[in-house]
Amino acid sequence: MMLLLFNITNIHQYLNKDLQNKLIPAIKTAIQRRLTFISDKEIKDLDREILVKFLFRAQNLLIHYFPQEEIYLMTETAELDLSLKFLTCPYFEKRLRGINEIKELTEKIEFHEDFAKEPQQYSSIYSQKMTKKLNAKMFIEWINKNKIFDLILGDSIHIEIIKRTHEIIKFIAKFEKLPLNLLDLLWNSCAGKHEAITIGIYNLIVEIADILDTQGINYLKQKINSIPDEEQNDITLNLVKGFAQKTLPSSSIKALKEGSYEVDESKFHCVDTLWRLMLDESKLSPTLSENALNGLIETLKERSCQDLKKVYLRASLEKIRKNESVSQCINLVHSLLSTTFHTHRYDIENSLGGVLEQLDTEFDIVELLITEFEHFHRRMQEIFSKSKSDPTEEEKEKVYFGKYSYTINFHNRLAFLEYILTNPSYELSFSLKQLDRLWELLALNAIWESDRDYFFNWISKNHESSSYEDFSSVIEKEMIPQFFEKILCNHKKLDFINMSPKAFECFQTYFRTINEIKGNFKTVKGSKFLIYDLAYEGKESLWSIFLNCKNQNTISKVVNVLVSCCLRLGQNLEKEKKKICEEFTYKCMNLLKEGYQKQNDRLISKSVLLLMSFFDAFEGKIRPEATEGGEKRRYNINMTATIVLKPDNNIKHVSINSTQSIGYLRSLISESFGFATNEFKLYCKGSLIESDEDDSALYNFPFGGPYIIFKVQPPKNDSGDFHPKLIMTQNTEYIDLLFKLLSEDVQGKIFSLKIK
């Protein structure tokens, strides 16, 4: 037929009129018949290019003998009917071609309609992209007449075909209202179908949700809400979330009254479904509830939810007040506050500070959170009071409170409190009483030891800066002196005897901070501190911890702080260094004596440890426990440092470990060149290394050097030759005491001594 058409097209103008009048209508009828009665087998073998060519030639021929519109309509309808044939063909590939052709036609019709409305906006090149006669009305009629959607969504439903249906439905919605029976058909088509089909249909529903009218939205919303909790899964939740987001109003829906939390919620669809599904009372699994919560957060972050999210903030705090679904409500509030409000206050209503202020006025947030924490803690204690033995760490993950494990509940509460208390946009802080309540709960009555340490770590975190000058923690600066005195220095509140290293780190953080605040300490390079007043805060408590603590790891930390408090002297105390060191040595020896007299082995060990650490620090050796673990391991390298004495160019090499201090390097240089440590200046890469760097580990400086030294005149009255060891060795009473201590322990142990 193609050949026939080709030949006639070439010769038709040479035919006489009569023949033309007979032949051309017959050809037209033949073409129509040929297209109408095309078999499935032919469809299977049909090449689309040839078909397009055929229709084009037919159009070109017939257009000379029939009205243009009639011919265009004939060929375009034929094209549409052919695509239906493809769609109903048993071969999947052809069915796919059918749906693709229908989809392409919708695009062409859309151009046709747009052109009909505003022809001046479209140039002639668009003529190729639009239908000539076929319009939206005809197309929709054709869709309905041929029950195209029944075909697509019927028994032979296929995901690839569904994926190509979006545009057709959108097209219908653009030109006519989507019939409810189509939505019904859509909804019912996934019943009992494979998961992939369900996902495809749900995606289709979400895709078209924004073009639905109110009736359509409400119809589908009612369908979505009718999914029982037991049947909810990731797929249905994606539908709920997608539908909620796609049906959000295009502009922000304002509160009904200014400053009020009431918003016309009928403008939002399925947002409340996500809220309901995330709560403890829903029958969803914790993972699915978390999914719903994330969906809700994501939805509320949208611009049109500016006022709606305040409704949910309020609802969440209300839930927390009632001790219901606390963990998820905390997560919701935390996430919304931290990501969706701006920190500046130009728009007070929508600034973080403004919102926090409103919420705090209504809920007294800190009090609310502490009261709820007490309730949570009480409930957990009740659970464990029934068991005979203490709860183990493994049990922590197994115990659930609401939809979340104990650990998540615990961490969520502290994370949110931390956020609230350290937020610079609006000042919220603990009163001493509130702090004491929290301390009582988490430090004194912690259910798990690890929780206690977590709390100590939490309360000592410095959030903004490593410098103590900009200390910013969950406790506001003004509260620190009271907290330090009434809680941290109070052995009834902080167990000095069984103090864990974390508890001591907490003490140490505030010990440094309070003394910084009072001007007793100053932080210098490398976050080290120097002491400017020996009557520093917490001195007695520090010694008391040292004397009472039984935890060996904690004792090592206390010893380091005690030694630092003796040796890290500010310039005003540098002259008194000798006296201070003497007093420290006497104090240690007196403790040793007391240990001997009272036969207190623990005190003896502690005193010896303190003295040894003191000597190490004095000599610039860093004891391993005094360095930060991770860094130490990374840079633990044995090396040979080259030292050049200028201007003589006398070169020496010293062996040192990179974790050891500059002070220790100084002492090695002193030994190998035969100078006192104050008789030379040490340079690295042209820069002078000041003596206040002596505590820094060598890995902070370029490895291997060469280090340059210049001999200098030692300052007058400098105690360069002084070493606290001399006080001990020159005092025979002290040497005798050491021998006495050794003789107490002598029998059978002499051979185990390591003679150095």
Binding site: M612, M728, T732, L742, I750, S752
Partner: protein
């Protein structure tokens, strides 16, 4: 008590004990407190003597 011994030997030698050994002012039994069953003191004194002898040897070899 190893720590006490570590502390002791870390200290510079006590001059009084050293002098009494170098001057041999008393009998060796008494100087080294052999009879008083203070093995640590004995060990301490022996170390001082060893150091002294090693220093002399080093000087001789120079």
């Amino acid at each position: 008590m190893n720590a006490v011994w570590d502390l002791l030997i870390r200290l510079p030698i006590n001059e009084k004990i050293k002098n009494s050994l170098f001057e041999v002012s008393e009998s060796w039994d008494s100087l080294l407190e052999v009879k008083s069953h203070h093995p640590h003191r004995l060990l301490y004194c022996l170390q001082i003597i060893e150091d002294f002898l090693l220093d002399k040897e080093a000087e001789r070899l120079k």
